[in-house]
Structures are given as structure tokens and as C-alpha cells.
Symmetry: C2
Subunit: 305 residues, 2 copies
């Protein structure tokens, strides 16, 4: 028996279409509905046979779904909640895949009937590509999924939702929503903001220099351009909705950058070397955890390293 009778995914981009593929590959739902406001995206989703039903009508598409997943930019959540609220099945779980949790869910919950169980999730998985063609079923395998239930959330619903993400291949972590937004602010939102900024700074260079910057990008710049190729609308919404945490972290970052700038201007090699030496320590911790953020079985066997 499948975990859910009917799952409705709203948004058929990279994450939504990958989730549709993962649900089918792992037989997680008896019926799968994929909803997208864009006619072009719906057409693509039909061509790719991503779901049993594909529609641009969200209110209609969520009817009788026992799991609804929002996979659109977080700035759309409130409007979608207004549209689907009245059609949601009592007892259904409403979750999402967004990179910001606290403010977004405060807006969204106003429009969701109390009979629906709202449980925010953040599967930490993605690529710099967008659209239904960019998705693949294995996107979630061995990645972390952070679930941020309220303290009074229904435990059986949490268990059902975590089983869903586990069935997609993910590892689960429960976290307070505000804390999630702070942690992701530094691991994800600030890196993206810096990458977008440096690529913008490069784009403003004179044409001949810009050509050379592109040519010699292997020396460090290239990795930033990969991050800065991420979906602009999704990231616009992240910064608009995680404003407080991002501004707080950006403030700390700017202070640290200003201190380095000053030491470069003054020729203070001791300070530079001291700051630069800390990088290796953090990297060592990260390498010990492995690319997915937890020790691999081999690494656990030699945990005395």
C-alpha cells in the first residue's frame, strides 16, 4: 500500500519535477497530480509524463490529496494558500520545499483551515538548473531534509511526512523554524548573495577584461558563477522573506571583510595569515563529514582519525 492516496505537487520546476519522478520511482502515492500556473511548463510536464494528472488549476488539483507539497518560490505561498485553502482535505498534510521557513509560514497559515496539518520542510538538494527537464528522481538521495514543525505539531503527521522524505532517499533533521533560517542564512543564502554580487561586479567590467575574466575563471571565479546561475525568482523571494537573518549575517560578514580590507591596506600580514589559517580547520571538519554532511560508513569505522 502506498504511503499516500494522492499527492499534489504545486510547481513543476527542478524540485517539483524531481519530486514527481521520485514519488513514481518509489511508489509513494496511488495518484500523483502536478500543478503549475505556466501553460508551457504544463505542456512540458505532459510530454515528460511526470504525473497522472497535470493541471494549471491549483484549487482543483489539490482536491482529495492527503499530501500537498508547495514547490514554487516562497513569495507565492500566501497567494497559493488563499487559492487552495478551501479545497484542502481535512487531515491532509501541507508541506513545502522552500529555503525560508518562519515568516513564510506565518503568512501562509492565515489562509489554511485548522483541519489541515501544516508541516514545513526543506529538502537541501538542488542544482543550478531550472525547469521540468532539469529534474531527476535521485536528486534527494542521501541529502538532508530539515523539517520545522511547531512545538505542538501532530506527532503522527510528522512521522508520516518524514517517512515520505525518507522514501525519496533523504535523511531527516527536526529543527526550530527561526533557527533553520539563521543556519541556512549562512550556509546557503549568504554564499548565493556573494556569488551573485561578484558575478555582477564582473559583468560591469569593460568588455575586454570581462572576456579574460571568463577565460581564466578556473582560478576561483568559476565556482561562484555556478551558484550565481541559480533561479533568480526563487532567490529574490528567499532574500525578501529571510530579510532579518540575512541582514544580520551580512552585517557580521561585512565587518569581517572590512577588517581584512584594512589589513591589506596597512600591509598587516600577521592578521591576514591568522584569518586565512582558520579556513583549513573548518574545511577539515567538513571533509570529515563527507559531501552529504554526515560521515560515510567507511569514515565512521575510522572515527579516531
Amino acid at each position: 500500500m502506498a504511503l499516500f492516496k494522492k499527492i499534489a505537487i504545486i510547481g513543476a520546476g527542478l524540485i517539483g519535477s524531481s519530486l514527481a519522478r521520485a514519488i513514481r520511482a518509489n511508489d509513494i502515492a496511488d495518484k500523483l497530480t502536478l500543478i503549475d500556473m505556466s501553460e508551457d511548463v504544463c505542456k512540458k510536464a505532459v510530454e515528460l509524463s511526470l504525473a497522472d494528472e497535470i493541471t494549471d488549476d491549483a484549487a482543483q488539483g489539490v482536491i482529495s490529496a492527503d499530501l500537498v507539497v508547495l514547490a514554487t518560490p516562497v513569495g507565492t505561498f500566501e497567494e497559493i494558500a488563499k487559492q487552495i485553502g478551501p479545497s484542502l482535505l481535512p487531515g491532509a498534510i501541507l508541506t513545502d520545499v522552500g529555503s525560508v521557513k518562519e515568516t513564510v509560514f506565518k503568512q501562509l497559515e492565515k489562509h489554511i483551515p485548522p483541519s489541515v496539518i501544516v508541516l514545513p520542510s526543506h529538502p537541501i538538494a538542488g542544482t543550478e538548473h531550472s525547469g521540468p527537464e532539469a529534474g531527476f528522481a535521485e536528486l534527494f538521495v542521501d541529502r538532508w531534509c530539515i523539517v520545522t514543525p511547531k512545538p505542538d505539531a501532530d506527532l503522527r503527521a510528522i512521522e508520516r511526512l518524514t517517512s515520505f522524505w525518507e522514501a525519496c532517499g533523504m535523511r531527516i533533521e527536526l529543527m526550530d523554524a527561526a533557527h533553520h533560517d539563521l543556519v541556512l542564512g549562512i550556509t546557503s543564502h549568504l554564499p548565493h548573495l556573494l556569488a551573485y554580487t561578484i558575478v555582477g561586479t564582473a559583468a560591469d567590467l569593460e568588455d575586454d577584461v570581462k572576456t579574460e575574466v571568463i577565460k581564466y575563471s578556473a582560478s576561483g571565479f568559476r565556482g561562484f558563477t555556478r551558484i550565481a546561475a541559480s533561479d533568480p525568482v526563487m532567490w529574490r523571494d528567499v532574500f525578501l522573506h529571510n530579510k532579518d537573518a540575512v541582514l544580520e549575517i551580512l552585517q557580521r560578514f561585512t565587518e569581517d571583510l572590512t577588517a581584512l580590507q584594512k589589513s591589506i591596506r596597512r600591509g598587516d600580514g600577521f592578521y591576514l595569515q591568522e584569518v586565512f589559517s582558520r579556513g583549513r580547520e573548518i574545511r577539515r571538519h567538513i571533509e570529515r563529514l563527507g559531501p552529504e554532511g554526515y560521515p560515510s560508513p567507511q569514515q565512521m569505522n575510522k572515527s579516531d582519525d
Copy 2:
């Protein structure tokens, strides 16, 4: 017949030891001397049999070499020039692998006899690892090497030096030294400075948050930590010696970051989306050039893309 009778490399770290391996793998010299000030590094180099002669005496080691390569942090160049200047063979080529060119060579040339041909190079290749064990012969293959001769430099010597780098597998580009420092300032030095800064900002977080930042680093932070694991002394010297270009670029970057910060604070989604949309364009150019910064044969065949 080998390209050079004797090559002396000063510095047996990642680049110097990789170069030693490449020289041997490609039969580029009749004799190879590897020089390092550190006794430990010399011992390692002996264990790894990296050269015909391994010594900590630079003045002695460069005698009769027709190519001398400086592969130490750029801050050491002037002192090394003082030590080796009197021992250098007339007609020898003196080059380097440093990431800064203009100021460094002004300092160095004061101590080099005019009979020696000074030709700065910058092989754009490396990893975040350091030391003689980290090196490998293929490090330079299909990478760019920027050579920055003065306008009046000896053309036959330039040709000999470019043949050397080509024999290591590199592609050559000639460039003005000051222009090199500006281009590398944005493609390499600024990305490293930002990576060191964000990792430092993360290191200052409370312990529990820091643990989570490490755990969820896959969401963007991880790539920065790889760059920030690069050799602290080498990078200290880069920033001390490319001060003007780095401060100029940092100024532009900070202005752009401040504009984004302001638009986050004001909730100006139009501005954010506009800036973020530029990232994809630059990335497209870089992907078209391929990871090494030039089109692969397959890509050239479909250059009408």
C-alpha cells in the same frame, strides 16, 4: 635532446613538486635540482625521489641552471633574488609561478644581474592541498599559463619558456603584468578573499550553530570552504603584493554588495531579480568555454549554438 640542461626549482610545495614530476615525466631537463628552505620538505622530496639533486642551499642549487623557477610564496622572491643573483648563469631564464606579477618583479629585478633573462609566468593550476606529497605531474595539463614579459624582452627566450610550459601540457597566453594582476584580482584573489571571510564569519558563530553550518554546508557554503583551505602564507603574500588591484576591485564589489543589502532591507524585489538574472548570462559564457577556459574540440564543432 632535452629542452634545458639543468632546471632548478625553488620551493617543493604543491606547484614546485608537481613541476618536478612534470619535468621528469616529459623529459624536459637533463638535470633537475629541487631547492627548499625547509629540512622536512627536503626529506620528503628525497623520499619521493622528486629530483636528481635536492638541497636547502638556493645559491648553490641554481649554479649552471639554464632555467630557474621560483615556486615559493611571492613575498619571498626579493630575498631569494638576493641570495641567488650572484650564482645565476649568464643567459639563464628566471621565471616563477606566482599569482602576482607587477610589484613582485620590480622588487626582484633589482637583485638579478642584467645577463639573466627575467620572464614572469603564472601557470593557472592548483588545488587546495599543499606540500610535496600533494603534487602530481598532470596538474598543468590543458590549463592556461600566462606569461608577462616586458615589451623589450628577448623573443627567443620567450619562445624557450613557452615551449617549457607547453611541454608540461599548458596553453600559453602573453599579457601585460599590470593587466594580469587586475584580471587575476577578480577571477582569483577576490574569490579567495570572500571565501576566507565567510569561513571566518562562520568560525566566529556559537559552537552549536557552527556544527550545523558544517553539517548543512552542501547548500552553498561547502565550495567556499574548499577555496578557503588554500595555503595561508601563499595567499597572505598575494594580498600584500597585489594590494592596489585587490583594493580597487574590493571597492567595486563592496559598492555592489551594499546596493543589494539596501534592496533587501527595502524589500526591492525588482532590483534583486534584475541583478540575479545577470548571473546566468555569465555562466552560459563560461560553460561554453568549458572547465579549462577554452572550447573543447566538440564544442568548437558546434560553435553556432
